[in-house]
């Protein structure tokens, strides 16, 4: 016979695996994220802010309790970077204290509320029925009755108690929107055949949720956690601005801005120091969130853009 017949070919069903082993998902996500200079900058800024907020004694000789009554309303100078306030407190130190609280509250609320959303949303979507209807109704209610309103009304109750109560309250009213998104996602994932496969092999519902559903939403959850951090910082500063949030002696960026607003035209540093820190924090969180979304979303179009730019140069 003239042809080279290779009977083994037919049997070797294994064939070749995709020639070169592709990079793992994690590495790909990291690579995409690192390529996004904005998001990278955002994460650097957040880490930096956090580090500085806790290590400010290394940079400043003043303590928060120290009031230099001879030096009130002093504009920013080499000795007082952000100036001083009406009783001579160093604004840099005050801002760092405020930043500490705002960032800590934001991170705690973001992470806890997202975890809560994941569990509740996945359960509602997976089991359906009454849990599901109740959850949807709660979300609708939250739209009608904004969490800001509830927490501010409840604020006299926890006047004088720890800021941790505020974290609990913020978490309690922050999880619903994400939970609704998680629920929607779960409804989609539930129809995936690997979830059916788990059911038909006798896997228990809760195990299916934690093994197959929640891990497959991790990109959504990471992005939403970031968004939730941002909105928690925003909520906290808003509440504190009116005195409904962080209570003295604790300070947060919100309380500082509240004090500084009155003097914004006369002693601008009192307003700008905490305000700019707040904007930088929120902006960084937002670009990190977007960067993560782009990196985790396989349809991200950055590569194409890059190539296009290269084409133009060529």
């Amino acid at each position: 016979m003239s042809t080279t017949v290779n009977p083994a070919a037919a049997q070797d069903a294994a064939a070749d695996i995709v020639t070169s082993k592709p990079v793992s998902r994690g590495a790909l996500v990291r690579r995409r994220f690192m390529r996004n200079r904005w998001a990278l900058g955002g994460i650097v800024v957040i880490v930096l802010l956090y580090v500085v907020a806790f290590s400010y004694p290394l940079f400043s000789p003043y303590s928060y309790e120290f009031h230099d009554t001879s030096l009130t309303y002093d504009p920013p100078s080499l000795s007082h970077w952000f100036g001083t306030d009406n009783i001579g407190t160093d604004m840099f130190v005050a801002s760092m204290r405020g930043l500490q609280k705002s960032l800590t509250i934001g991170l705690l609320v973001g992470v806890i509320s997202t975890a809560l959303s994941a569990v509740v949303g996945a359960a509602a979507g997976f089991f359906g029925g009454i849990t599901d209807r109740a959850l949807m109704w709660l979300v609708d209610l939250l739209l009608v009755l904004p969490s800001f309103l509830i927490i501010s009304i409840a604020s006299p109750l926890f006047k004088g108690s720890s800021w941790l109560i505020l974290v609990v309250l913020l978490v309690a009213f922050q999880w619903m929107i994400t939970a609704r998104i998680v629920r929607g996602m779960t409804l989609t994932l539930k129809t995936r055949e690997y979830v059916s496969a788990a059911r038909f092999m006798g896997q228990s519902p809760w195990r299916t949720i934690f093994k197959h559903i929640v891990p497959n939403m991790s990109s959504l959850l990471i992005v939403d956690a970031t968004i939730n951090v941002g909105s928690a910082v925003l909520q906290e500063s808003g509440l504190s601005y009116f005195g409904f949030g962080v209570q003295p002696p604790d300070v947060s960026l919100g309380t500082l801005i509240s004090v500084g607003t009155g003097s914004a035209l006369t002693f601008p540093w009192l307003f700008y120091a905490p305000a700019v820190l707040l904007i930088i924090t929120l902006l960084s969180v937002a670009v990190v969130g977007d960067g993560l979304r782009d990196a985790l979303d396989p349809t991200a179009s950055r590569a194409r853009r890059r190539e296009k730019r290269k084409d133009k140069l060529a």
Binding site: I150, S155, L278
Partner: protein, 326 residues
Amino acid sequence: MFGFLVRRLINYIVLCVVATFLSFTLSSISFDPLSLLRQHNPPPPAATIEAKRVELHLDQPIPVRFLTWGEGVLHGDFGETTKDHAITEELWRRVGVSLRLFLLGITIGIALGVLIGVASAVRQYKLFDYISTFFSYVILATPVLVLGPLVKQVAQAINNATGSEWLQFTGEYSGTLDADAGWLAAFDERLRFLIVPTVTIVLGQIAYYSRYQRSAMLDVLGSDFLRTAQAKGLTRRRAFFKHGLRTALIPMATLFAFGFGLLVVGGVFTETIFNWQGMGAWLVQGINDQDTNVTATVTLFVAVCVLLSGWLSDVLYALLDPRIRV
């Protein structure tokens, strides 16, 4: 379809009642309106306090108090403040103040937001897109409590530069205008006070809607039906506007309901910062005065606003999307 809208409306009304009840209950638990009285010096006699307690119905269980108040509301009576003023007297003026601010802000904001969103989707990755994206990011990251004072300062700078005091940013009107100054002067007067806070609201609204409109447009950009439209001979641009824009407006209808809720909360800050005596400022005052009737009234207002915008967005959705017109 009509049935659907009616059912939605009923659902919203139920939500409204529940929300107000929750707010009322929470306020009643949280507030202690007698504390102010007790702090008087010299302390008033126990009988006076007791009389106030009965006057405020504090001797009754909360649900009963809510029903009493609710019954009044049905008759147009929202009760009295802890300082014995009838809420109804002040209510409509304050509602007017708030709505003037919100409705103008949201109308201009949505119109500009959608325009800018579409423009930056059309010019994706071009200069305009980069600039509008950058500004939306910055504005979205700037809470109203910072944005307000900033806009104020810009207005002050404009005033300084023009050497006038035309732009005003404290209160709604000066109260110094003569009664017979004519409508033009009255209009000018209102406008001077309206511009700065409205700009604050509009900026936020533009940033919010333009981001969503941009991504809705980009989603539609890759759709098969846009390709079909081009295949039948529409230019890319015409296909984009005739088939793309029309479809990309659909998700905006849902967003509108949510955006309005955010706006009302933001209104609390806007009003406080610019010293407008609207509903938002009233809420803050009500909490500080430990006044359940005021907070419940404000809650009801917020709920009705969100309800109406939610229902409006249902109607809009039905108008925009034939798939749900059943």
